[in-house]
């Protein structure tokens, strides 16, 4: 019973397990399910284990039991693109008409619904992929409509902007909050950083050491002697260096802020420093990078067991990183290129990691990211990336 339903769920990507499916049958057998809505709630609570999949489940359920049309992935994408085209059309009909090679007056006769249908049809007619070029709708081209293309005033339809200049992001992801690679929240950061610990005994002696107490008592010929130990406390030293300058980091401020807030409450021995783009002769203790400079060379005197975490997009002009006088600030030109300073830090603190808020799939597009990745192990600033970074930091 409902085997097809089960497989449909798995097909759309809900990780329902056979055991859960059997449990559902147990519920059916017990006569607990007397109506379709009973079945809906039972099936969802037993088969679906994450609110991220609730929406998908709803769609499959509606498809299976009420005959609703299941939007296949491709069709869905077409829908989105067509919808975005419509928006663009409403804002600037001439450009769209030109891009499609159609007469504007002709298209204007259509109603919005008809227009969407028309756009979809045009999109479907493209049988092969179309990347590049400047006429047709596709990806990576310079046509004003399309995907991930580059056109100064162009409209982005879905996907990510690689050049950060698209006027408007047209698609909307309803369940983005729940997605695993979405923004970090305080609790998820806590979860990820939990293992970043170095337990050492501190505080008053208030924990009973049973083994030692028994041993001492025996030694004392049965006269009880109780031995207390200090509690284990986390005494990990962490240096957090944050890139807080320049517009390139602006989109990531909330994420970094959350990380910073959490780190501040979690680690007692946390030192935070700030820099702009990359590290030259100094790091600053104040976010304005003005009042409290700390020369990079002084870090050589610190405990090498300290964990160094650098947060930054590592995106800049290559000369800023490589040239001897690459700093965009005149007073910072000591003759050591930034890349030398970074190497120095990486050697001083062997336990290090670079967290990059830029999604990993975009890294190959920026040259300085590739260079810095050779010095610091780099991780995405997401829950997954943070976990990998913690592994790296705690590795012996």
């Amino acid at each position: 019973m409902f085997v097809d339903f089960f497989y449909k769920l798995r097909e759309v990507g809900i990780p329902a397990t056979p055991t859960a499916f059997l449990t559902l049958h147990r519920a059916l057998q017990k006569g607990l399910i007397m109506s379709l809505s009973d079945f809906y709630t039972a099936a969802r609570s037993i088969l679906v284990k994450s609110e991220r999949h609730f929406d998908l489940f709803d769609q499959v359920f509606a498809h299976f039991f009420e005959g609703a049309e299941l939007p296949d992935a491709e069709g869905f994408e077409l829908d989105e693109i067509a919808k975005a085209l419509l928006d663009q059309w409403l804002a600037d009909p001439q450009t769209v008409a030109d891009a499609l090679g159609e007469d504007m007056a002709e298209l204007q006769k259509l109603s919005p619904e008809e227009l969407i249908e028309y756009f979809k049809q045009r999109l479907r007619e493209q049988t092969e992929r179309h990347d590049g070029g400047n006429r047709w709708i596709g990806t990576g081209g310079t046509s004003p409509v399309g995907h991930s293309g580059y056109h100064p005033g162009g409209l982005r339809v879905g996907g990510e902007s690689r050049n950060k200049s698209a006027v408007k992001v047209a698609n909307e992801r309803r369940y983005k909050d729940y997605s695993k690679t979405g923004l970090l929240s305080q609790s998820s950061i806590g979860e990820a950083l939990k293992r970043l610990r170095n337990m050492v005994p501190t505080g008053p002696k208030d924990q009973l050491n049973i083994r030692e107490s028994i041993y001492r008592t025996m030694k004392n010929a049965g006269e009880i002697e109780i031995v207390f130990d200090r509690r284990l406390k986390d005494r990990l030293k962490v240096i957090l260096a944050i890139d807080n300058g320049g517009y390139s980091m602006d989109p990531y401020i909330p994420v970094v802020q959350t990380l910073f807030n959490y780190a501040r409450s979690q680690f007692k021995e946390l030192k935070t420093y700030f820099f702009h783009n990359t590290i030259y002769d100094t790091l600053w203790e104040d976010p304005a990078r003005f009042r409290k400079p700390k020369p990079v060379m002084e870090f050589g005197r610190m405990d090498p067991e300290t964990r160094l975490i650098i947060v930054g997009d590592a995106s800049m002009a290559p000369y800023e990183l490589m040239a001897m006088d690459g700093s965009i600030y005149v007073h910072e030109r000591s003759g050591r290129a930034s890349i030398e300073q970074l190497r120095f830090l990486a050697e001083t603190f062997p336990h290090n990691a670079w967290l990059n808020p830029v999604p990993a799939r975009m890294w190959p597009y920026t040259r300085t990211i590739n260079i810095i990745r050779q010095i610091f192990p780099m991780f995405e600033l997401t829950i997954d990336g943070l976990e990998q970074a913690v592994d790296q930091l705690m590795a012996a």
Partner: protein, 285 residues
């Protein structure tokens, strides 16, 4: 129908808890399947309250295990009080028999639920605080409904299978084996209509004007950008309590955009400042 269900031990809601049908069904199915129910959702949406409501409604005692980050599974099962035994063996002035280790075993929360003389509701609160090992080990215990006391080589079996409710705040998913053994529900944030019901349950003789204005303002405040911890049901209830206790307060103030006791709603200083700024700006226009 309702009456007969209650007699058979079906969960139908409690005095202070507004239950939607869907959640009631899920609770009942989990109870009959004898599977733990895992609840997720924003803080303050009544995850913990649900367990209290089940216990109240079904007349079962509630046992709460508050999970802490450094907790080991054994702490939740039982504790072997070595210090007392050592002391007794030295001075021998207690009624306990030193040679019987059993006398020095104290049951933890899960142990208490297992050894209770009637069916209990076991609430395991904020499971996400503990590490994954704890979670997986605990589910083995809950699955088998038994655990061993190593010191006396005895197996404790549950006399009555407790109704188990587990809550989690984490956005991060729990491990797969864990999820495989639970039923899952995500409590969504109540819509204004549901919220009205919840408020009237908590304040049976509340003035409709206060309620409407307070709820409207509350949902507006939840829409504020940049706020890290949005006010939830718990905050709203406390806020309304504060408002109704203030003799100088008039519901019209809210309609005008004045919001007294903002600190009840926003508890992080950053959020408070943001909210206060927004409120002031609104009043100016």
């Amino acid at each position: 129908m309702t009456e007969s269900r209650e007699k058979q031990g079906y969960f139908t809601g409690a005095k202070r808890y507004v239950l939607d049908d869907e959640l009631a069904r899920i609770v009942n199915i989990s109870m009959s399947l004898e599977m733990p129910l895992l609840l997720k959702g924003e803080p303050g949406t009544g995850k913990t309250m649900l367990a209290h409501a089940i216990a109240e409604n079904l007349g079962m005692p509630l046992i709460v295990l508050n999970v802490k980050s450094n907790m080991k599974l054994i702490d939740a099962l039982y504790q072997y009080d070595t210090l007392t035994r050592l002391n007794d063996s030295r001075f021998g002035d207690s009624t306990r028999d030193v040679s019987r280790i059993e006398d020095y075993i104290k049951m933890g929360k899960i142990g208490q639920a297992f050894t209770a003389d009637q069916r209990t509701v076991l609430l395991i609160d904020e499971i996400d605080k503990a590490d994954t090992d704890f979670q997986d080990d605990m589910l083995d215990v809950l699955d088998q409904m038994e655990f061993d006391i190593i010191e006396i080589d005895k197996t404790v079996r549950a006399k009555y299978r407790p109704v188990i409710v587990i809550t989690s705040n984490a956005k991060k998913d729990l491990s797969d084996p864990f999820l495989g053994r639970c039923n899952f529900h995500h409590i969504a944030f109540p819509d204004p209509q549901m919220m009205r019901k919840i408020i009237s349950v908590h304040f049976p003789d509340i003035d409709t004007e206060i309620m409407n204005n307070a709820i409207d303002t509350f949902y507006q405040l939840r829409e504020l950008d940049m706020v890290e911890k949005k006010p939830a049901t718990r905050e709203l209830i406390n806020w309304i309590r504060a408002l109704s206790m203030d003799p100088d307060f008039k519901p019209k103030q809210l309609a005008k955009g004045e919001i007294p006791y903002l600190g009840v709603l926003f508890k992080k200083s950053q959020d408070y400042t943001i909210a206060a700024n927004q409120v002031q700006r609104k009043r100016r226009f």
